[in-house]
């Protein structure tokens, strides 16, 4: 900076005037001072600013000007509580699984959508110690066509929750905690999911394919 730092101020310039100028009489750039104030460093002074009445005055003015922005940025925004559910509902509408289990009873038929089977299997697997994430998928029906468009068109022969009558084949992708006994965790998942689907849905024959595709450390996120 080469300009005068102690010349008396010619009167307090308005922020509007300052914002029309490129630099102060001391040579300091207005853009940089506004950047500093907007970054919340309006009270900080470098070596030049400690001596310069122009910079001190302008930083104070800009800090006050910017304070409503900082205040609004710091205030939490209330997100509509139903937003995630509304998004997933629309996506599920696009990929509605048309496959159901079927059980004929003496008073009528009971059908349970394959995606419900997938959700129960997933939630059941998530309760096993050592499981960091468990995802169940259902790629039957319309989802197969949409998945081609929306994903890499990945097809795995055992990928779906396949249901027919009271038989189900469930595919689960699982990430486990580092140091967890992977094979034991996978067997526990198979047993737990099979018991859940038999007990809660009344399925007779259940096959649970478990793919352990990641191992995560405690600090991995």
């Amino acid at each position: 900076m080469s300009g005068p730092v102690n010349d008396p101020l010619p009167g307090r310039p308005s922020a509007r005037q300052l914002l029309g100028d490129a630099a102060l009489p001391c040579g300091a750039e207005v853009d940089l001072l506004l950047e500093q104030a907007a970054a919340g460093r309006g009270a900080y002074r470098d070596a030049h600013q400690q001596q310069c009445v122009h910079c001190q005055a302008v930083l104070g003015e800009f800090a006050a000007l910017w304070s409503p922005v900082a205040e609004m940025a710091a205030a939490p925004v209330t997100v509509p509580p139903g937003l995630p559910a509304a998004v997933m509902s629309q996506i599920r509408g696009l990929v509605r699984d048309v496959w159901y289990t079927l059980e004929i009873t003496e008073i009528g038929a009971v059908r349970i959508a394959a995606r419900i089977v997938a959700a129960l299997a997933r939630d059941s697997a998530r309760m096993i110690p050592g499981v960091r994430v468990a995802l169940g998928r259902s790629t039957q029906g319309r989802l197969a066509a949409l998945a081609d468009k929306a994903t890499f068109g990945h097809h795995h022969p055992d990928a779906a929750v396949g249901v027919l009558g009271r038989t189900a084949v469930v595919d689960l992708a699982v990430a486990v905690t580092y140091n967890a006994p992977v094979h034991q965790v996978a067997r526990d998942i198979q047993r737990q999911v099979t018991a859940t689907l038999r007990g809660q849905i009344g399925l007779r024959s259940v096959t649970v394919n478990v793919t352990v595709d990641d191992v995560l450390g405690d600090d991995e996120g």
Binding site: P68, P80, P84, R126, L135, A150, T151, F152
Partner: protein
């Protein structure tokens, strides 16, 4: 889902969930939606200025992200990509003409915390800054919102807007001056 299981899942990286979602695991995408819907809504609200449009934009963006997952380039983060989609959707909304309504259609979301006087003061500030933001050209609004409201770095904004860091900085210089002039009128 049990609370404990939910907490466990919060530690899983976006990249893992994106990869599983690309393989057809809708559950994985649901976790991404739960994680990022607040951000999508917040940015949309700052860019559109009203809750109704913000909800539309956030919802459309999250669905569009799912429909285009195969095109997601893993070199950038999922959140950067989502910022990109949200800002584009908000721009579409802005250029399609006037917003759905200038009246707040979701009054239950207004800030009702604190004493009535404080609350009224806060709402005045929000109205003033929102008005000042909306008076900016859209590209300037985007850089202000992403940097000063979302805390993105110049490099991250450059990735979102397909620009360069110097260009972002230069945009920000102009945008701050313009916003400052708007705020000066309000003071």
């Amino acid at each position: 889902m049990a609370a404990a299981a939910q907490a466990v899942h919060s530690a899983v990286a976006d990249a893992y969930l994106v990869a599983r979602a690309q393989e057809g695991y809708l559950d994985a995408y649901e976790l991404l939606v739960q994680r990022h819907s607040a951000m999508a809504y917040r940015v949309a609200l700052r860019l559109t200025g009203n809750h109704h449009d913000a909800q539309d934009v956030a919802q459309e963006a999250l669905i569009a992200a799912w429909e285009n997952l195969a095109r997601f380039n893993a070199r950038s983060s999922f959140s950067t990509w989502l910022y990109q989609i949200v800002t584009r959707r908000a721009l579409n909304k802005a250029t399609r003409g006037k917003s759905a309504s200038s009246i707040d259609l979701l009054p239950d979301l207004a800030d009702t915390s604190g004493e009535p006087a404080e609350q009224a003061e806060r709402n005045l500030v929000v109205d003033a800054v929102t008005g000042a933001l909306l008076a900016l050209p859209f590209p300037q609004r985007v850089v202000i919102v992403l940097h000063h409201f979302e805390g993105l770095s110049y490099a991250e904004i450059a990735a979102v807007t397909g620009s360069t860091e110097p260009a972002v900085r230069s945009h920000l210089f102009r945008a701050r001056r313009a916003l400052g002039q708007q705020l000066e009128e309000w003071r």
